[in-house]
Symmetry: C2
Subunit: 449 residues, 2 copies
Amino acid sequence: MKRALKHLEKHKEGYLKELFEFLSIPSVSAQSSYRDDARRAAAWMRARLERAGFEAELFEGDGLPTVLGRRIEDPKLPTLLLYGHYDVQPPEPLEEWETKPFEPTLVNGEIRARGCADDKGPTLAMVLGAECWIEAAGKLPVNLKVIIEGEEESGGKVVYQCVHDRKADLAADALVIADVPGAAEGVPSICYGLRGLVGLELIVRGPGRDLHSGFYGGTVANPATALARLVATLHDADGRVAVPGFYDGVRKIDAKERARLKARALDEAEFLAGAGATETFGEKGFTTAERMGARPTCEVNGIYGGYMGEGTKTIIPARAGCKITCRLVPDQDPTKVGEAVERHLKEHAPPGVAVEVRRSAGAPAFYMDPDTDWARKAAAALQAAFGHAPALTRGGGSIPVVAAFKRELGLDPLLIGTYAPGERMHSPNERYYPDDFFRAIRTAIALYA
Amino acid sequence: MKRALKHLEKHKEGYLKELFEFLSIPSVSAQSSYRDDARRAAAWMRARLERAGFEAELFEGDGLPTVLGRRIEDPKLPTLLLYGHYDVQPPEPLEEWETKPFEPTLVNGEIRARGCADDKGPTLAMVLGAECWIEAAGKLPVNLKVIIEGEEESGGKVVYQCVHDRKADLAADALVIADVPGAAEGVPSICYGLRGLVGLELIVRGPGRDLHSGFYGGTVANPATALARLVATLHDADGRVAVPGFYDGVRKIDAKERARLKARALDEAEFLAGAGATETFGEKGFTTAERMGARPTCEVNGIYGGYMGEGTKTIIPARAGCKITCRLVPDQDPTKVGEAVERHLKEHAPPGVAVEVRRSAGAPAFYMDPDTDWARKAAAALQAAFGHAPALTRGGGSIPVVAAFKRELGLDPLLIGTYAPGERMHSPNERYYPDDFFRAIRTAIALYA
């Protein structure tokens, strides 16, 4: 292990350069115009795995490929399965970036690029940690299997096909995922719970085309107004979701869990500063940490309709719509929640418009006992790399494929957080510290040991 | 007059070509990227006036210039002031155009181009009618003054400065405006009432940047949801505006007016087909013609916020907004209505967000007695050109400058409708019949006589 760490020290500069190269590929999975770039990122990762000493291949399906890698040193050794993703969120709004999202730049010691923290840095670190072992010791102290998907940010299906079709190839003793933030600067985390997700798009249609709002105003239903009225029925004034059946199955927060969430010691002022918000807002009767990790939500991610450009255009829009995602907690059923929201929207459809609801496949929440043998091993590796014990966290985000790993392979994930929070995931000016990149590599080196 | 009409017959093809040239200049006043094009359209119109035999100039102010023209044959003759506009609505949504909006095209005998009916065709026709007289008889039978503005579609101020500063130069016996539709195909109109207008933009701000809706969902207010809740307070379920004070001063529809509006004999099925709508919707207790012409509205013209692109982006938007215009009737005060809506929006601001309201300068409604000497003269000219008496109409649209003409020059306008309705003003695939263009020129020839 010492030699592996020494190898890292010698190659830091080159590894950072490689990360920049990876970040400069705009692998946005949600937008079809980036399709070729995303494929380029997959090919880049496959080649990188091979160079590190893995066998690697692309698993092709109906969408962007999943990259698979494996290096079996000895069937008698335990096997780790490593998961990451090479795709990134859309960079919009572009005008709010201080640097170009796909031209990685160091600003005051921070890497700025779309996908640097989520999840290209942590993904590449797991591969480079293996390379350090192989280069320094000629072999790994563990068998490694790698699965790196390309549709994590867009809800694609290929990784599910892959986990299903390659069940036997992917069999492992433990699953490691480094796609969550740490607890604080220099304090890593082990995340024992994540929310699930179900997405909907609501489209309200009125007249056959945009109409002159003078000649037609007051005589036909306005889809933008109808949309607003419909969205307004989703919550009560306190932010509690007002959809019947939405909270069915939601697990109560028991005393032990409440204490755990409290221990996370979220600093409200720091939290608000991170969000650029002036006050918190949400369901009555719950703390911010509880609202974030242990309570479900129904959030509008985008709303659109009619004239959105500069100045004025006096029209009644032909249609208006919004994109919604609900975050779910144990033991909500994603399909039932999606159906409940769809039913609610259709039942509340205002007169004079047609309401269409599109639903994405959902994923349930993840929750595990944080007190296992593997979790202790991960904690030790994080302690070694950071010089600080990891905090136990429960996250508000979602990694939908976690449920498939459980179902197909019987594996709960070790979710390790190796980068400082405040990294502006999904936002402009996404940030990642070079030191966190090197700590992530050190964590991998220690974990494999 | 016969000779003037003969001149038209001989030059139809050339005149149509000139209209196409005018239409190919994308003089969108609302979008600054078209600024140079709009100036090009002003210069084009000024040169065209000079070629027809007018003195012409550009009145410059804080925005796009107003084109002025004059030809005084004899101070003893009556003087007509002609108003039109050379600017057009934005062409968006571009993907719904069957032809390019600024490449005028004949499709099944219809001209297709942004601004063909609103208002480049009717404006050019008034100038060409004068040229026919001048070319055929060496002079006009009347003095003509022309004012053609460049900010009708965007609520600019230059024409107001112009009418104010050039009061004396613009003095006339009657004002003619050809910026309203006719009553039916082949049936012209005289419009005795138009609605006023006041515009607002509502901006709801939440966090300092788009946030990850997993990590932050449920803990801070969502501006898109807050916007929807706010817009939902603007109307009751029947479409009546729910803003206190909004209906202050609204003139009751008396029996005579009710009969006049009824006589317009709006065919509901045809109306719906024209709008591409399946049902009408609006304030209880009023007919569609009443809702359109004699009742005020508060319409959302556009709504926006967060991720509006393809696929999914799981964020809480930093902000969301909407564009609103209220159409006004006699005797509402535009400023008071704007203030009332602003006050209402601010009073209903949901917690956790900041609400900003921007208001545009408004314009009151126009309403006149349709039974005047000049109206009879206009009716005779329309009858001569169309072979059909004009219908009396009251329109739902707005021509804000009408109030300034009244205030500064003491003139009520003769609003003449020379093109078939269903022209898709402000919508994709705007249409204008070449025959309506020639009838508009004939109307001008007869009117000047």
